[in-house]
Symmetry: C2
């Protein structure tokens, strides 16, 4: 079965399906056209297998309306809807630090639209920051094939300005300057923990 | 709609539905018969609202098989199954520390059966412990109405012994002695962060 994501890519299960929610029997055509989520899942698997960090994507929250309980077999969900998470998608632990982040893709080349974030995600990152967590966004400019770690604090500044009538996006130039670029590595599509090391140092 | 959990309690939405996955229109009959999950959700909401900690239950992982995309309305999941999580159910950040735990109820009075845990949950807690996370189990003896925080390290000891042919449960007396009891407080059904403070001190 192929599930099409909003960006038009066909879903493909990562090499190791830890944390993957959908099953897929698609052929692996290499790393061409991987979504950011797939790249992060692969990276997180690599980090966990190598004892570097434990970071997982949370399951997609589902609002269940109807469940059948057939005799002698597993419960079948017959009606359910995708619902909105009250948190970010990724969290975990690295070098004793709590990490919390969201990953966003844009096909824009000149700016990152703030509408990619929801108020409750911003609120969640603020609350985690207050507790001493390390919070950030991983932003991929798909057309440019560039990925950046962007500090939550910088994101909050643009978010708050927007609510005061400020601009509805963050300029690419700003993210390229203030963010930390994450170039892909062999076996590691998004080696974001190097950028986290920079944040921590 | 009423969803019956394995312990036989009818599901009732917590006072504030943060992180709740199912909708419910049941009347609130007070705290009588709350499941441990409901008690923890209430406690976590209390902690978050009061700026004490940010801890959430992860959504139940669902394996989606069939989705309908009706025109002009939301996608409907038509066939899906409950799947097993690769992590524990709860994690978050408190005083700069990464917390990771699972919550288990038993109606046994003399021991806690280890079959309540799965190998991958133990593996996950071990990996998080290695990264400097604070890992534990919250165990409720339902009949006794007693709740304990039990250190992951102590759990590992019993788990490993079981795999060498040792006993398949942890005696109640051991948990009562080595664990940290969590008596309920006003507005806070499971004030487990007090026990975490003891762990940290």
């Amino acid at each position: 079965m192929t599930i099409r994501y909003p960006n038009g890519h066909a879903y493909r299960a990562p090499a190791k399906k830890i944390g993957s929610q959908f099953s897929s029997t698609n052929t692996n055509y290499g790393k061409r056209g991987m979504t950011l989520e797939e790249e992060l899942n692969e990276s997180n698997t690599y980090y966990e297998v190598n004892g570097v960090a434990v970071v997982h994507k949370k399951p997609t929250p589902i609002r269940i309306v109807k469940v059948d309980y057939p005799k002698r077999s597993a419960a079948v969900i017959k009606e359910a809807y995708f619902s909105t998470a009250s948190t970010t998608d990724y969290n975990g632990v690295y070098r004793g630090h709590y990490l919390d982040f969201d990953a966003k893709e844009t096909r824009n080349t000149t700016s990152f639209p703030l509408q990619n974030f929801h108020q409750h995600q911003i609120d969640h990152m603020r609350a985690c920051t207050t507790q001493g967590g390390i919070c950030f966004a991983i932003i991929k400019f798909v057309t440019r094939q560039e990925i950046y770690l962007y500090r939550a604090q910088d994101l909050f500044t643009f978010w708050d300005a927007q609510q005061q009538g400020g601009r509805k996006s963050i300029p690419y130039a700003t993210i390229a300057q203030d963010g930390i670029q994450i170039p892909a590595e062999l076996q590691l599509p998004v080696p974001y923990l190097k950028a986290v090391d920079q944040l921590l140092s």
